[in-house]
Symmetry: C2
Subunit: 141 residues, 2 copies
């Protein structure tokens, strides 16, 4: 039993992931990427911040902090670490003085970015629709 490692377990069967099941690993993954900071960081690194130029670019820590208004150091660092661990972004340290740290989307990160980008665009495009519905809803109280 103890001789079987995680990689072997994974390859032993073609698992059918189902995010609706609470116990399914993909559900926990969905929980993680359904996070506002994750979405905003991916959008930033995807290039959404550069006047809709929209090409993935590497960004420094301070650039990200400036672009993503309202994020605390803690949450930004925490989010970046988890994204790095999951293989969605790379972290490159250049030992200048002071140190320079660049973050960049990996190929895997870009594949998720294409979706988070739509999420951000949807929010911006349908803001008025949602607002109108809210007023309507709040009126019939």
């Amino acid at each position: 039993m103890a001789t079987r490692n995680a990689a072997q377990k994974r390859s032993q069967a073609k698992i059918e992931y189902n995010a609706f099941l609470a116990v399914c690993p993909s559900r926990r993954l969905l929980d993680r990427i359904s996070d506002k900071w994750v979405v905003l960081v991916l959008c930033a690194l995807g290039g959404d911040g550069a006047g809709s130029a929209g090409r993935p670019a590497s960004m420094r820590y301070s650039e990200l902090a400036r672009l993503i208004a309202g994020v605390s150091q803690k949450m930004l660092t925490q989010t970046l670490r988890s994204l790095e661990r999951d293989g969605l972004i790379t972290r490159t340290v250049t030992p200048t003085v002071p140190v320079t740290v660049e973050y960049e989307l990996t190929e895997l990160g870009v594949s998720l970015y294409t979706t988070t980008r739509q999420l951000r665009m949807w929010a911006q495009e349908h803001m008025n629709d949602v607002d109108r519905h809210r007023e309507e809803y709040d009126a019939d109280s």
Copy 2:
């Protein structure tokens, strides 16, 4: 000043929404839809739960609770209310005994569903990739 209502404010200018700005309404909207329960409810009502049949369908409260494993009454009700308020779903009460309540995506809801569906699919499809990166990352500790 006090005579100008929200609707007039909205129509007075074509606002350029930018979700990166903390003060922007679209940012708050993005924060809301970047929520796991929102994503799961939209996916459920979009038809993702029906063996990938994938056609939007109306569902009862108890059906949703059963499909979305692990959600509490409180969070499910809370999420459904906010989605209804935002105009993404409709809530229909049929006064049978006991009462029957059906939830269904609106047109606006369907437009967001197309994106949340991709989010859920991404999680399921890339689960193995992410797991592999995590093991690798945790190994160099």
